[in-house]
Symmetry: C2
Subunit: 252 residues, 2 copies
């Protein structure tokens, strides 16, 4: 045991610690370029591999991200604010606005990869909707892209016996979207449950959301309930954690 605990740390960790402190102190702000491998090699008298490992630590922590050929930059976190309760308030979708519109504020969310299909519900969806295995559901998938960067993809499942022949089975559901149509069908949602988890992405999810190294995904599963207590929709969302802050406001 030496008297200085720090000397037992590998060199690349000590360099990473110093850079992290500088970021936290604001010496390097969001979007700033960090010292490159050559700078770190000269400043700390270390080998290139050590400098590279130090920068790798910050990337794995999601504090910095590499841009090809340009260096390693402090990650800018300018998230979308997703307000859980306001965005689903009846006034919102009741007046014909998309439930997503409150997310983007002054920024434009573009929807792509829309896919609408009827299929047999798998066990997980059956459990969530309280239907018997093998029941037919309509599945609506889409992805949301902000400033050219995909930030969320989602698939929502609705029982076929409720939505068959309605615009919910079309790509364009019309003003107010799915919830306004459900209301017209006599199954308007009056209650929601959102369940939130976070984990590392699969390779496929990282690819669909163009995630930088060290970026978890947030998973939200929302279930919408009608007046009679029936679950009328379950929506599985996968969010780029570096693009979102979730906000829930509620009274005691």
């Amino acid at each position: 045991m030496t008297s200085q605990g720090a000397t037992r740390q590998p060199k690349y960790q000590r360099i990473a610690d110093a850079l992290r402190k500088s970021i936290q102190a604001g010496e390097y702000g969001p979007g700033d370029r960090l010292p490159g491998e050559n700078d770190l090699m000269a400043a700390y008298e270390v080998a290139r591999m050590t400098a590279r490992q130090a920068l790798g630590v910050l990337q794995n922590e999601g504090l910095a991200e590499a841009r090809k050929g340009a260096g390693v930059f402090v990650r800018a976190f300018r998230p979308l604010r997703r307000r859980g309760l306001q965005r689903l308030a009846q006034e919102q979708w009741g007046s014909g606005r998309s439930i997503w519109s409150t997310d983007s504020e002054d920024r434009e969310l573009v929807v792509d990869q829309i896919d609408v299909r009827e299929e047999e519900a798998d066990d997980r969806v059956c459990d969530a909707l309280g239907i018997t295995p093998g029941t037919q559901v309509w599945a609506r998938s889409r992805r949301f892209v902000l400033d050219g960067k995909p930030v969320l993809f989602a698939t929502s499942y609705l029982p076929s016996d409720i939505v068959a022949d309605s615009p919910i089975t079309q790509r364009e559901t019309g003003p107010g979207g799915t919830y306004a149509r459900l209301a017209e069908l006599g199954h308007g949602p009056v209650h929601f449950r959102e369940e939130i988890r976070s984990r590392m992405p699969s390779a496929d999810e990282a690819d669909r959301l163009s995630l930088a190294t060290g970026t978890p995904v947030i998973r939200i599963v929302r279930t919408a309930f009608a007046e009679d207590g029936r679950a009328v929709e379950v929506n599985e969302m996968t969010l780029d954690s570096a693009s979102y802050v979730l906000e829930y406001d509620f009274d005691a």
Copy 2:
């Protein structure tokens, strides 16, 4: 370009894909031991490093975790369910129960590393509480441990001018905790805002929560508001994402 895209993947990725499929198909359930390096070397005719890399992929994705000397196991996800709204309902803390008690169901949450101190609020806390920089606040820190595993640590900040000389400045705040005491002081919370993010942990956070590789943290910042609109507490929580599901239930 070959006709089979899969052949362009590195071998360790193909082995990881096969193991992942087996996990998803339920061939290996939560807590099951995955084939070891020797098994994979024999089954796929690969070098030890390739087998190790394949198992590393699943650990980085958080699907599996290494136990020293015992092998690599499918991660069991038996999370605490944290109900955002019910747990802060006035009936809950109004009747003298801890707001944490609903989390643990049949499992016992142990509190440790309690620290209570007065300090100068930093800029972030000042912003959240709407107080001028340099104002004194009481900071209450603690960690929660479930089944021997730390799952959450939190620091809550309260303006000194409200809580001075009250039990909130003591380690034990008494029945109903901080919110019941705030109510007695005439500053009971009537509204809450929770903001949720997810990111990879710092080395220090990974250490405090004994996080396995590939485990993000969830950050929750809760602000409590009194009847007059004043922010009376801000609480910064850091959660092991593998130990929690957050749930928010609300009406349309």
